[in-house]
Point group: C2
Chain length 148, copies 2
């Protein structure tokens, strides 16, 4: 994790998070992992990214504890890149990015992919920051405070 942390004493969790996943390829690798991609060649084919960049990003994400390398699930000699529990917990980040993109970055009627609950086929609800009691909280209603 410290590898890509240029300010290890940074007290802002957003800053530490973006130091690890705040780049286009890393976010798309995490997205593809949620969609079931596990192998270097499949990540490369899906993203059309240079091998050197892909290798660098995957190495960084493994060092950050977001992916772990596992032997191939089919017993072949391939390695597979699988999200760790910490990596799996980026799900809200990817869904929030997706929902913002769905709402703002497509023309009406323009084809796009949608995330649905497999069992019901229904789209997910709209993610919004909420108080512990479930009230939706607007950006203007929050403050940042330091905690020890």
């Amino acid at each position: 994790m410290a590898k890509r942390q240029d300010k290890p004493d940074e007290t802002c969790p957003v800053a530490r998070a973006v130091d690890l996943v705040g780049d286009r390829w890393s976010l798309l690798l995490v997205r593809d992992a949620f969609d079931g991609t596990r192998r270097f060649s499949d990540f490369q084919r899906g993203l059309g990214v240079a091998r050197s960049i892909l290798a660098d990003r995957l190495r960084g994400l493994v060092e950050a504890g977001i992916f772990e390398v596992q032997p191939a699930s089919d017993g072949t000699s391939y390695q597979e890149y699988v999200l760790t529990p910490q990596g799996e917990q980026l799900f809200p980040v990817v869904v929030a990015l997706r929902q913002w993109g769905e709402q703002h970055l497509f023309e009406p009627g323009q084809a796009h992919s949608q995330l649905v609950e497999t069992s019901s086929g229904k789209p997910l609800g709209w993610m919004q920051p909420m108080a512990a009691d479930g009230r939706v909280i607007a950006p203007g209603a929050v403050s940042v405070r330091k905690v020890q």
Copy 2:
């Protein structure tokens, strides 16, 4: 928006979103805007970013419709960079990044900043993808489908 879109026919909302905000500086600029920063010099001081990089990122975010340039609120000749409604709707993305960072990127007891509801002083609830009926949805329970 199209400016930083290298695949304008990209049908994945996550990919379109990260094309616009999927870099460290852009995400931190949006974070700082939510925290009340409005002026070039204040963004620069807060982030310690080179003027040329800051100018490039702010220009891209204005072209993407995430920030808009306004005359200074105090009547001086300064320009201010203010989130548009589309930019304000990145709030769930920033909060999700923050909550992931809070949970995974600090040692127990290590100082960090926390986002609280100003009126109650209480931390926000934990953001999780949910079905329309409020059930929490795990990553393994969703599928991606194309919609026209």
